[in-house]
């Protein structure tokens, strides 16, 4: 049932080249996170999300420090080794200092256009609005230059509907695994979510609709191990889900930036694009990279654990991710106050040895199982 999803995520370049040719749309590489891809779709582009890869890192050392996260480093490596030739432009958000600077590096190194939604870090909605208005205008103009196509209102509404449907179908999978832990293997689940990074949304939606039909008829196998919520930025490397599956762990929910934090977003409101994009970026799930005093992460994570009936939290820390690292001690403290156990694993996207990760997760499971 999940083979078509693995076919995509194990053959990303081949997949992107295929749909680029079929659709005749210029590929826009979308950097982490929360860039409203509806704008790219409506402008006639083909949005491909770049959340890092497992390339061996070499050339990147000449341009980005080793203490930058492996997400940024591996994405830059991809371009440096010529693996991103099909990407015609890059879309950034000002998610963190590394990504802000990465855009500058791209501007200096490559002739490809770069666009950026600079996320306002302000207390008031009014200030956000006036700032975002000019930002969105600039992104729209940039996109139209890349695709040589104007963003029309009807095309934007259609793009919002299709992307909204993708997330709705993904939310359906999240709901299914919360209600029936063990029904979907962890690795299969994230293969299904990850596939959406690389496909045109209409194609992806068809795959998800088929998957839903297949899963609806399946019997619940239950889970033998503990139920966990995972929190982090990026849900790679996928090998770790093999470990979780082997240990019988059922991931019942997550708080990944490229997982639930994105999947939970409602259909983009295009009637008032500035309000719509503001809502899209700041809600509903809080994020360590987005300053939003109205949306506190601490009770959010505790509620998530309780709602999912989880036994504990696995913090999936991509090394050198400062926003994530800054938040974690307080989040762990809050979980401790609620007697919710947690453990942290340090991961890099290029890692090849998972013995230490296995020991940590296994030991955590032993604690949870008493």
């Amino acid at each position: 049932m999940f083979e078509p999803f693995y076919e995509v995520i194990n053959n990303v370049s081949k997949t992107v080249l295929k749909y680029e040719k079929e659709q005749g749309r210029p590929v826009v590489g979308v950097m982490p996170a929360y860039f409203p891809m509806e704008l790219i779709d409506a402008a006639g582009g083909y949005a491909v999300q770049l959340w890092g890869n497992n390339l061996p890192l070499g050339k990147v050392d000449g341009y980005l420090q080793t203490y930058c996260c492996s997400v940024a480093r591996s994405v830059l490596e991809l371009e440096l080794v010529g693996g991103a030739e099909m990407v015609k432009a890059y879309a950034f958000t000002s998610l963190c200092d590394t990504l802000i600077n990465l855009r500058e590096v791209y501007k200096r190194l490559f002739p490809k256009p770069t666009l950026e939604i600079s996320i306002p870090m302000t207390q008031t909605r009014a200030a956000r609005r006036s700032y975002l208005k000019s930002v969105i205008q600039s992104v729209v103009e940039g996109l139209e230059k890349v695709t040589r196509q104007k963003i029309r209102g009807d095309a934007l509404a259609e793009a919002a509907r299709i992307r909204g449907r993708s997330r709705e179908l993904q939310r359906g999978l999240y709901k299914m695994r919360r209600q029936r832990p063990g029904l979907i293997k962890n690795k299969d689940f994230y293969a299904a979510i990850k596939t959406g990074f690389f496909l045109p949304p209409i194609v992806y939606n068809e795959m998800l609709e088929t998957l839903h039909l297949g899963l609806d008829g399946l019997e619940d196998r239950g889970s033998k191990g503990p139920k966990l919520v995972i929190s982090g930025l990026v849900f790679d490397p996928m090998e770790i889900y093999g470990i979780l599956d082997e240990l019988g762990v059922a991931v019942v929910d997550d708080d990944f930036a490229n997982g639930w934090r994105t999947v939970s977003k409602d259909e983009l409101r295009v009637g008032d694009l500035v309000e719509g994009v503001t809502e899209f970026i700041f809600n509903p799930a809080p994020c360590c990279c987005i300053y939003n005093p109205d949306n506190d992460r601490h009770p959010y994570l505790v509620d998530k654990v309780k709602d999912a009936g989880a036994d504990g939290v696995l913090f999936w820390y991509i090394k050198f991710c400062e926003p994530d690292a800054f938040d974690r001690p307080q989040l762990m403290e809050r979980l401790r106050e609620e007697s919710i156990p947690s453990v942290t694993i340090d991961v890099e996207l290029s890692m090849t040895s998972f013995d230490a990760i296995k020991t940590r997760v296994n030991a955590f499971c032993e604690i949870l199982e008493g």
Binding site: D355, A356, T359, E366, I367
Partner: protein, 260 residues
Amino acid sequence: MDYYAGIDVGSLTADAVLIDKKGKILGYAILPTGNNSQKAATEAFETALFRAGLSKGDVNRVVSTGYSRARVQEAQGSKTEIACHARGAVCLVPDAGTIIDIGGQDSKAILVGEDGRVINFAMNDKCAAGTGRFLEVMAGALDVPLGKMGDLAFESQEELTISSICTVFAESEVVSLISQGKGPADISMAVSRAIARRTAGLATRVGVTDTVVMTGGVAKNKAVVRLLSEDIGHPIRVPDEPQIVGALGAAIIAKEGNGD
């Protein structure tokens, strides 16, 4: 036939312990892991059996632990080294609260509750900083036998500092100190201080209790133990043979019929 075994296969050594139904240690073995962990596990088990005057058929249940725990053919179950070091340490020191284990390629701090169960743990990163391998590399750079590093450190006259966390860079620092004419005793003390400082940070992360027990091969280095004790502000108890505590814990878990 009420005998049980624990086999701990780490990166540097494979250790085996045999116990009877009362938990009394009948024999043990510590052998280098080498490049074949499966073979090392078998040899450690057979050596321990020989020393205990037992044969494989006498052993009721075997539980494995350590990085190669899944590859031990003789084992009917396995547990992580965190669970096993905690179980072994609590068996030897019943009021143990914080257990610090420095093995060949990792170091761990484990917090156990009053019932002896693991409450929390922290492990070093994947690099070898502050581990047995770190000590081994530095001993090699100094051309001093690993077992002599601790005693040598106590002859130190001058306080030196090794600031690098990375083992490779730290080795370069040691080579640099040697070329400056610094003595092996002073350098050995600096190496011990570097390990102690790093391990103290790890222990602080899980919490330091009144009774701290140190296990693993590095616990045999008295300089590291003393400096670590000073850093965490608590005395540290070291079992007679700290290197077999993980295997002992695995044997006890085998006796209890546990281990997946």
